[in-house]
């Protein structure tokens, strides 16, 4: 009798094991390379190298910005943090950098387009890790974090301010901190209350009426503000996420890896680095190639097309606050990105910067004007690969413009799996003293 019960138990056990093995094979997509017992490592050698390359542990410190000589100074970081949160630096006294880059909301605002004193035309970008990017904004029209910080301050719909007003505010509220870092403030007493090259007609004419030396004085104070803000922003980094712990475990061939991500997430990762083609642009530990691509994202306002990078090339070259400009601390030969910038707009029409996917699931909506409300909609967009209405999409669709590129083909379930994987990239945001 015992032997019959034992053999029955053995048969049940065998059935269960077979069922498990079948489930594992179907999760793995049934391809020959992944068939086999559940205990086998599901990743090929090439996939392991790709997974390792995306591990946060592989991220080098952000490069030094030679154009900002104060970026590493604790006093600059402290001043920058206060300026970042100070709503007095706006025309209505209600807008600070933190208004659209809220520390409580992944340093962004959860809106399709930014809302300062007015409504913007693009999505606020999460600034964490921006020190790793040579170009700032969706179109890369600024080549440093400090120059970027100055853009919204004088933008009519963002802070709506002007550099003369800001210089006075600094003198009134932050004189000691400013002078400890940058030396004596110039005499601002005889200046008009509002004057700047990017303001309304009155402000612009007040600005041109100033002698060149005064304009340079004010612009230098303004540039220094940006440098302090950038020093603070550079302290922000992403902490490790469940994906990174999984990547560590698979690299160490630790069997505990299997429990760290669920089957959907693992399948999503496989698609992300495989036929989903996501990793072709979303690569490295920050999951971005820091470059500009047109992927046929629908225009927010077809009557006012957004040309992205193509329209920004002239702006960054002409920016008085760029690496080669008079307020940069860099030797000209250090300005390599600017020296070797692509200047032909042909391939860059409606191309936008690949954003980092760190913490992406925590900050809908998505794309440069918040065109997609969910990650599933984003992945579905890539699976559709629509033609671009401005410029040319790099993706293959229909007959395909690029015969070497295959179309991205994902089923409904696979789309969900990729979205599930993206949820494994959430980590804490850490403010730290070192780079």
């Amino acid at each position: 009798m015992n032997s019959r019960i034992n053999s029955l138990a053995a048969s049940v056990a065998t059935l269960l094991l077979a069922a498990t093995a079948v489930a594992v094979i179907s999760v793995a997509g049934g391809s020959p390379a992944h068939a086999g017992p559940a205990a086998a490592d599901p990743w090929s050698a090439g996939e392991l190298r790709t997974i390792a390359s995306m591990n946060m542990g592989k991220l080098a410190p952000a490069p030094v910005d030679p154009s900002n000589s104060v970026e590493h100074l604790p006093a600059a970081r402290a001043l920058g943090k206060r300026l970042f949160n100070d709503t007095r630096f706006s025309s209505n006294g209600a807008v600070s950098c933190a208004s659209c880059h809220s520390p409580d909301q992944q340093f962004q605002d959860g809106l399709p387009v930014g809302k300062g004193v007015g409504l913007g035309s693009r999505r606020a970008m999460p600034i964490v890790g921006a020190g790793h990017s040579p170009w700032m904004f969706w179109d890369g029209r600024k080549d440093s974090a400090w120059s970027q910080a100055l853009g919204p301050m004088e933008d009519a719909v963002e802070h709506g301010g002007n550099r003369t007003r800001f210089a006075r505010l600094l003198a009134t509220h932050y004189r000691a901190e400013y002078e400890a870092l940058f030396g004596k403030l110039p005499d601002l007493s005889a200046l008009p209350p509002d004057a700047g090259p990017n303001g309304n007609a009155t402000e612009q004419s007040a600005w041109s009426a100033l002698p060149a030396a005064r304009r340079t004085d004010v612009s230098r104070v303004f540039a220094n503000m940006g440098k302090a803000i950038a020093a603070f922003e550079k302290t922000l980094a992403y902490g490790p996420a469940p994906f990174d712990r999984y990547a560590d475990a698979v690299a160490a061939k630790d069997p505990a890896a299997r429990g760290m991500l669920n089957a959907r997430e693992i399948e999503g990762l496989r698609l992300f680095i495989g036929k989903g083609q996501c990793v072709t642009c979303h690569n490295g530990p920050l999951l971005t190639d820091q470059s500009f691509h047109n992927t046929g994202v629908p225009q927010r306002d077809p009557r006012r097309p957004d040309r992205g990078r193509a329209a920004a090339l002239a702006k960054v070259k002409a920016d008085e606050f760029n690496c080669l400009g008079p307020f940069s601390d860099a030797k000209p030969e250090a300005c390599q990105e600017l020296a070797f910038m692509v200047t032909d707009p042909a391939g860059l029409e409606a191309a936008f910067k690949t954003p980092s996917l760190r913490n992406v699931a925590l900050r809908p909506p998505y794309m440069h004007a918040g065109q997609f409300a969910t990650l599933e909609q984003v992945v579905a967009h890539y699976a559709r690969s629509p033609a671009a209405t401005v410029g040319h999409s790099e993706l293959a669709h229909g007959a395909g413009a690029h015969k070497e590129r295959k179309p991205i083909q994902l089923s409904e379930r696979e789309i969900k799996d990729v979205a599930a994987f993206l949820g494994t990239l959430n980590g804490a945001i850490v403010e730290r003293a070192g780079r």
């Binding site: 090929s44 050698a45 090439g46 996939e47 190298r49 790709t50 390792a52 390359s53 542990g57 592989k58 080098a60 040579p134 680095i273 495989g274 036929k275 989903g276 083609q277 990793v279 072709t280 642009c281 690569n283 490295g284 190639d289 820091q290 470059s291 691509h293 390599q336 990105e337 020296a339 070797f340 910038m341 692509v342 200047t343 032909d344 391939g347 790099e394 993706l395 293959a396 413009a401 690029h402 070497e404 590129r405 295959k406």
Partner: protein, 146 residues
Amino acid sequence: MNRTIASFSLPLLTALALSGCMTPPTDLNVALKRSTEQGKYVVTLQPPAAAPAINQIHSWQVLVASPAGAPVSQARIAVDGGMPQHGHGLPTQPLIRRELADGTYLLEGMKFSMTGWWEIKLALQTPQGPDKVTFNVVVDNPATKR
């Protein structure tokens, strides 16, 4: 030198082994010394001594010689290229502005924004006439922490 060239060479294609558009064609010519299209010159592409990190701007050297091996001086060389499987060009505009020695030119401003198959296209103008050559470079994941 052989070790560093190995980062860009054919044996590592098998280590890539990724699906979809990620796998370069298996018959890709990855030679770094090639004749130009009309046979006027032999061009050698020399990678930097230390393999650059992804997104790190770096320099190569370009050697231009006649088919008989004589260095070709005073060439003007324009650089183009991209990733054929992705439909995008180079992320920077590399420039050749200096001839370091007879027939040896400095190729500055190179940057690879991702791993995979890259084309580097050189268009040469010299006193001996114009010609073109395309090199295939397969960039793999660097083994070391960058």
